[in-house]
């Protein structure tokens, strides 16, 4: 334990193969990723390995990232939009130690972005790959626990069960109550869990220029949405899909268009709303500071 702590943290760890996984495991995962890309939205089973962190901490995403990443890549890791939270920091350090590659907190500089539960506010570009950490890849799991049954439903594109669930929400609450992991149809064929991103992010998946890969380590599934692929959030004609809206702006950068986190500031009910995407918020504040006239404009807006 102590030996680990005192080891020089500056470069990659020579005791491991590049990106931790052995070459045969990477090839198996790579073949699964290629099939996942060829069958958009379909969950490809793969031989998930034991990783040096527990299930639920992004083992699926890490295995996908480890299989695609190369020496010239620049990696960004976010957890709920933030680069500085414990899961993101540790995964970033894991790849720094096992690959020695460059990392960044800037969305625009990254070639590979591993994410837990958010899509960056800054639009992705076509040379980027975004890797989602997925806890439950099966969108029907809560409605039908038997995997043999859900496999059959996917095979037959029989998704009535999910529509009934959404309808029951409307009958009971007057609206669809799902706010995250909101089910989507990919290329009009497969029902897919977008991972627990807020439904605010669902529209960003549609026709996104970046390649989107999903890894579920415990459930041993990989799936993908190729660039420029139709991704439709389920809805009804008389109850169209809608994303969350806020009365407030970000208290730090004034953004009105980003996903906001509510932060409790004291014991007297004090609270503030701030951007969940730390890079987006930071860039906006930098730009505002650089051009003083814009500050006044933002305040009066």
């Amino acid at each position: 334990m102590n030996a680990d702590v005192s080891r020089a943290p500056d470069s990659s760890d020579s005791g491991y193969n590049f990106a931790y996984l052995d070459e045969r495991t990477k090839r198996m995962i790579r073949r699964a990723i290629l099939k996942a890309v060829a069958i958009p939205g379909y969950q490809v089973p793969f031989g998930s390995r034991e990783m040096p962190l527990p299930y639920g901490w992004g083992t699926g995403g890490i295995q996908v990232t480890a299989s695609i990443i190369g020496r010239d890549d620049v990696l960004k890791v976010i957890d709920q939009g933030a680069d500085d939270t414990v899961n993101a920091v540790n995964i970033r350090r894991f790849f720094t130690r096992t690959t020695g590659i460059a990392t960044t907190e800037r969305t625009v500089e990254a070639t590979v972005i591993q994410t837990r539960h958010r899509i960056p506010e800054t639009p992705l570009q076509d040379h980027q790959i975004i890797v989602y950490q997925v806890p439950i890849p099966e969108p029907l799991a809560k409605l039908e626990p038997r995997e043999a049954e859900t496999k059959m439903m996917h095979g037959l594109a029989e998704y009535g069960l999910m529509h009934v669930k959404l309808y029951e929400d409307i009958a009971r609450y007057g609206h669809i109550s799902t706010t995250y992991d909101y089910p989507v149809m990919v290329d009009g064929r497969y029902l897919m869990a977008p991972s627990p991103i807020p439904k605010f992010d669902n529209p960003k998946m549609h026709m996104n220029p970046a390649l989107q890969l999903f890894g579920a380590g415990r459930e041993k599934r990989i799936y993908a949405v190729p660039p420029y692929t139709k991704v439709e959030s389920l809805a009804f004609d008389d109850h169209p899909f809608e994303v969350q809206r806020w009365e407030q702006h970000c208290a730090l950068c004034g953004a009105k268009d980003s996903f906001l986190d509510e932060v409790i500031t004291d014991n007297d009910g004090g609270r503030m709303f701030i951007c969940s995407d730390t890079d987006y918020c930071g860039q906006r504040r930098e730009n505002l500071a650089a051009v003083p006239a814009n500050v006044a404009e933002a305040k009066s807006a």
Binding site: R30, R31, S67
Partner: protein
Amino acid sequence: MDTFSLEHIGAGFSDPTAASQRIFRTSLTVLSRPGTILEADSDATAPEGIGAAANAILLALLDQDVALYVSPTHVAVASAYYRFHTGCSITSNLEDADFVLLASTDRIPALSALKTGTEYAPELSATLVWEVAKLASGDGLTLTGPGIESSVRLTATPLDAAFLSARAETISLLPRGVDLFLTCDNRVCGLPRSTRIRG
């Protein structure tokens, strides 16, 4: 049991970790963006008659877990090479093959002769690496579907009427099907089952 002599086998990747990753990423890019043509060079010495891109893709993706079918054109020179460098098994039955290497002079095999997966496990299907005589952007076929913003044109010879009718059959089988890498010398283009092709 057949034996082979190592002296007739060309070199594989000099740095397998880095080369496999780079070639895989090229394969991933072309398969997720059908119609895009990229170079896939490596320092491996391909068996005679096999292009650099086809060779690199096979070296990067094959191992002891998969079976390769080699076109009759190449089977004599290539079987020992891939078995030695990757540990893959070589099969003479198309229906057992996970990867299929075809020469430009080959006809596209009937879909019924290939592994196309099942409705419930469409991933258990063949990946074809087909060396074509000509591969270029523009003119020719019109591709649409996932990975393509509006549409893209691709010229590949010999993607003829027989190929297009075989592909039309594939579309009716979705999500079952096979996925293609078209290669020409050191260049590669992906054609996944999800791509719609118009002549």
